[in-house]
Structure formats: C-alpha cells, structure tokens
C-alpha cells in the first residue's frame, strides 16, 4: 500500500473511531471529547506553523481569541446567526494573521517568539481595555436560544459532539492533504533548511506568510467553534496560558505529524482533568510536561511511533 493510501486510511479510521465513540461514551467523557476535538483543531492550526514550517509562535492565543471574539461580538452585538458569525470569527483571525505575519516574519528564531508573545499580550490587554463590550476577565455567555443552526440545537450534547467532529475532521483532512502537495512539502523544506529552499527558487517568505495565515485561520476557526459550542467568550482564552497549551499539545503528541495534535490534546486534557481533582495547581503538570518533553522527548508520542515502527506515518 502506498504511503498516501495508508495515511488516508489512518485519518478515515481516526474519524470513524471518534464517530463511534460518541455513541459509546458516558455523557461526561462525551462532553470532554467534544471539547478536546475543538482544542485539537486549535493544535492542528498551531502544528501547521510549528510542526511543519518550523516557526515557534508563543502567541497563538491571539488567533484563537480573535475567532472567538469575532463570532461572539457578531452574535452579541451584531445580532448575527451562528453561521455568518462563524465566518466573521474566521475572517477576524485571518486579518490578524496577515498583520502579524507581515510584521513578525521580519524576525527569526528567538525574536520571532518574543514578537508573537508581545502581540498576543497586546491583544489580551486590548480585550481587557474594551471591557465594556468584551466583559473582560468575566467574559459573556452566548445564550442557548442563539446557538441554533438549521433547526439543530448546538447545545444538545450529541449535536455538539458531531459539530466538533465535523470541525476536527475538516481541519485534519485539509492539513493532511496540504502536506502531501507541493505547497506543504515546500513548508517542510523551509523548516529543514530555509536558505537551501530559497536557493532552489522557492519564495520562502510567501510560504511562511501563507503558513501563518492558514495556521491563524484554523486556530481562529477553533476559537469561534469553542465560543459557539460551549457558549462562553472570555479573556482567559487570549492569555499566555492559551498560547502555551497548543505548543504543549503539539510537542506531546508529536510536532509535524498529522494526528499528533489530537493525541497530545487528549493526553494533556485528561492529565490536567485528573490532577485538578486534588489540586488547584493543575498548571504544574503542564510545566513539568514542557520541561520533560524538551529534555527527553522532542519528537513527542507520534514522532516516536514514526521513528520506531511506522516511518510512513504522515
């Protein structure tokens, strides 16, 4: 079987598995998994930039929050219905990606990390500053009555799960396909050796810029979906913590693998969920995981699987 056929089957299998799970899981885990799939979509967006293009952003929460607030404000003050509001969310994140891309891509390495961190911090503070509309730290709730699409109630656990699955599958299949075609392979080339890629005649800046745009837009879609499906929009989602999470999920699951983001999000979500049962210091787990991953397992779970058993793993 060719590698591309194998990877297609793998992705189909993952999606089918998630579909079956929604009928077998308890309500509690079903709710968790819906949340995880949206967060994994965020991680997939992050992975496009970090895992495949080799650009480490410390500010992706700004894209997630842009999507979330784009949708939330459009629904709350614009009176929009969910579908156009969702489009507004993605568009907001896309516009922000364009601005951040043009500016931040002038820098590399450590400076890129700090610049993205600073931009995200500004977005977080701007959300707080306009607290009259954004409700700042408190955030605001999108009422159940507004969260209806085509006669379906997105607050119903099953429909919410399926909507999250639809979002996740789209992001997974789109990015997986993208990494097989010329564009994605050039992104990997940029990650592996930027100068070499330029000297082969590829426009490195254009590729990096598009990677930021795609990564930011997918992250924004995840943020918009999170607001829509769970009915809450708050400044926490723009904080540094939410920029660190996707890095953590992708590192843990395996940077530059298609299903690593999901694997990392599942593990980390349950680890934090479990530990918050007996301590409020649940971010301790995240801190320890970051240090241990950087020290001992940079390839992450799926990266390790690829190295040992399945070199074809996409």
């Amino acid at each position: 079987m060719s590698p591309s056929a194998r990877s297609f089957l793998l992705h189909l299998g993952v999606i089918a598995g998630l579909f079956v799970l929604c009928f077998t899981l308890s309500d509690y885990h079903q709710g968790n998994l819906a949340r995880i799939m949206v967060l994994a979509t965020y991680a997939i967006g992050y992975n496009v930039l970090f895992g495949y293009t080799g650009l480490l952003s410390l500010g992706h929460a700004m894209f997630f929050a842009a999507g979330m607030y784009g949708l939330g404000l459009a629904m709350q003050y614009g009176g929009m219905s969910p579908v156009p509001a969702f489009a507004v969310g993605i568009l907001t994140a896309a516009v922000l990606s364009v601005v951040v891309g043009v500016l931040a891509l002038r820098t590399i390495g450590v400076a890129f990390m700090i610049v993205t961190l600073m931009f995200a911090q500004s977005v977080f503070l701007i959300i707080l500053y306009f607290g009259t509309w954004t409700r700042g730290d408190e955030g605001f709730v999108i009422p159940q009555a507004a969260r209806q699409v085509l006669g379906m109630d997105l607050t119903d656990p099953l429909i919410r799960y399926l909507a999250a699955l639809l979002l996740f599958s789209s992001a997974l299949l789109i990015t997986a396909r993208m990494m097989q075609v010329r564009f994605g392979r050039v992104l990997i080339a940029v990650r592996e050796n930027e100068e070499r890629t330029q000297m082969l005649g590829y426009d490195v800046f254009r590729h990096k810029f598009l990677a930021v745009l795609i990564s930011g837009s997918i992250s924004g879609a995840a943020g918009a979906a999170y607001g829509l499906l769970f009915g809450y929009v708050g400044a926490t989602f723009a904080s540094v913590q939410y920029s660190i999470f996707p890095l953590l999920w992708v590192l843990l699951g395996g940077a530059g693998t298609t299903i690593g983001p999901l694997v990392g999000a599942v593990f980390m979500f349950y680890l934090i969920d479990y530990s918050s049962g007996f301590t409020n210091a649940y971010m301790l787990i995240a801190g320890l995981a970051l240090v241990l991953l950087v020290l001992f397992a940079r390839a992450g779970i799926m990266g390790e699987v690829r190295r040992r058993w399945a070199p074809w793993l996409p």
Binding site: N193, T197, M199, L200, G201
Partner: protein, 232 residues
C-alpha cells in the same frame, strides 16, 4: 551571447571591501573557473551573482536582463542554480524528497534522471543525512542539475573529496559542458586546467587576470601571486 555579466560589482562589509568593482562576463555554454587565494572574494562574488549576498553597488545582468534588485529565489527561477560550499542538503529528508524539491516537484522522471546521473538512484528512500560525505556532495551536485539551470554555480564542489572522487566529479561536470553554462569556484588547479574554458583570478576583491587557462597561467602577475605557491 553573454549569459551573465556584472558591472562594477562591489561588496563592502563594514568598511572592509570584499569585492571591488568587478566587471565580469560569461558566454553561454562555457565553463568558467574562478580562482584565487582564500579571502579573495570568490564566494562573496558568486553570492552577489546568485542573490544570496546583497551587493553594495554595481549591476548583475542575466540573459540580457538587469537582475540586480531581484531576490535570490527569482534569480533561481530565471535559470540559475547554486550549490553550496558547505554541503546544504535536507539531511532529515529522503534522497527522493531532496531531488524532487530541487526539480520543482513537477517532473518526477527528470528528478530521477538527475539522481541517476550521479549513481544515487538506488537509494531513493534513504535519508540524505545518512549518506557518506562524498555521496552528499554528489547529491548536492545532482540537486543543482535537477534544477535544469542555464547557469550552474558550483562553489568548491570537490572540497574534501578523495582523488578518485574528484576524478568522478570531473567526468560529471564535463558531461554537462555544452548544455549548461558553469561558473566554478575551485582550488584544485588540475580540475581547473582540465575543465575550464576560461579562468578569472581574483585577488583581494579585484580581478587580477582573466582569459584562457593557458594565458592566465602564463601571466607573470598570476604566477607571482598565486599559482607558484598553490601548485607546490
């Protein structure tokens, strides 16, 4: 027809002139060797030709177009290829992916042909970083060929290779002669004498002498400054 011309090409690094007002021209189809002692400005010069290094002043013309302001990737697309002095392959990608990227991922057969030319077409799935040094240089060369350039710039392709590997390289470069114009930086004088149609000697950023290998090696200035010491 002149494929490549430079006019008064100059590079100054923080007050230090690395290349000074070099006028250079290269006719289509020739192999031109650039020689000179370390620090003469050879790599800086080809860097400015390829666009890797921005020029301080002067012009670069390629195929009748002034490309002085073009970024490197556009120059490559116009028909240049550049192989690095320090091997710059994608170590963590397979040989196939390396050559496919070089070819532009449009024509798989052309990519495989280029690998076949250097005899590496049996190892498509191997990681480029696992190759021996000599094979990595060959891959680097094949990547240049796979771009099917009109001008191939080779920056010290035989550096660090054994005698037999150098002989192999000579054959490869000769097999391209005629179809591809080649600008070659080379230290090994045997290689230069056997391959080059024309030679330019750089010293301290300036052209010391230029012409056929015979005239250049007979030039007393050159003998004084470079050849006498280098060949012994």
């Amino acid at each position: 027809m002149m494929l490549l011309e430079t006019k008064l090409l100059t590079k100054i690094y923080g007050g230090l002139t690395a290349v000074e007002a070099v006028d250079f021209s290269l006719r289509q189809g020739l192999v031109h060797a650039l020689i000179g002692p370390n620090g003469a400005g050879k790599s800086t010069f080809v860097g400015m030709v390829s666009g890797r290094t921005p020029a301080t002043s002067g012009e670069v013309w390629f195929d009748g177009q002034n490309i002085s302001a073009w970024p490197a990737h556009k120059r490559m697309r116009l028909g240049m290829a550049y192989t690095f002095q320090i091997t710059a392959i994608y170590a963590r990608l397979s040989l196939f992916e390396n050559i496919a990227l070089a070819q532009g991922m449009r024509d798989q057969d052309a990519a495989l042909d280029a690998l076949g030319r250097v005899g590496l077409d049996e190892r498509l799935d191997q990681l480029a970083g696992d190759l021996s040094y000599g094979h990595q240089r060959l891959l680097e060369f094949a990547m240049g060929v796979a771009q099917s350039p009109r001008l191939l710039i080779l920056d010290e392709p035989t550096q660090g290779l054994s005698e037999s590997e150098i002989a192999g390289f000579n054959t490869l470069i000769r097999s391209l002669a005629g179809e591809t114009t080649i600008l070659l930086i080379e230290h090994n004088m045997d290689v230069v004498m056997s391959l080059a149609d024309e030679v330019t000697v750089l010293q301290q950023g300036r052209v010391l002498s230029s012409g056929t290998p015979e005239t250049v090696s007979a030039d007393p200035l050159v003998q004084d400054a470079y050849l006498g010491r280098e060949t012994c």
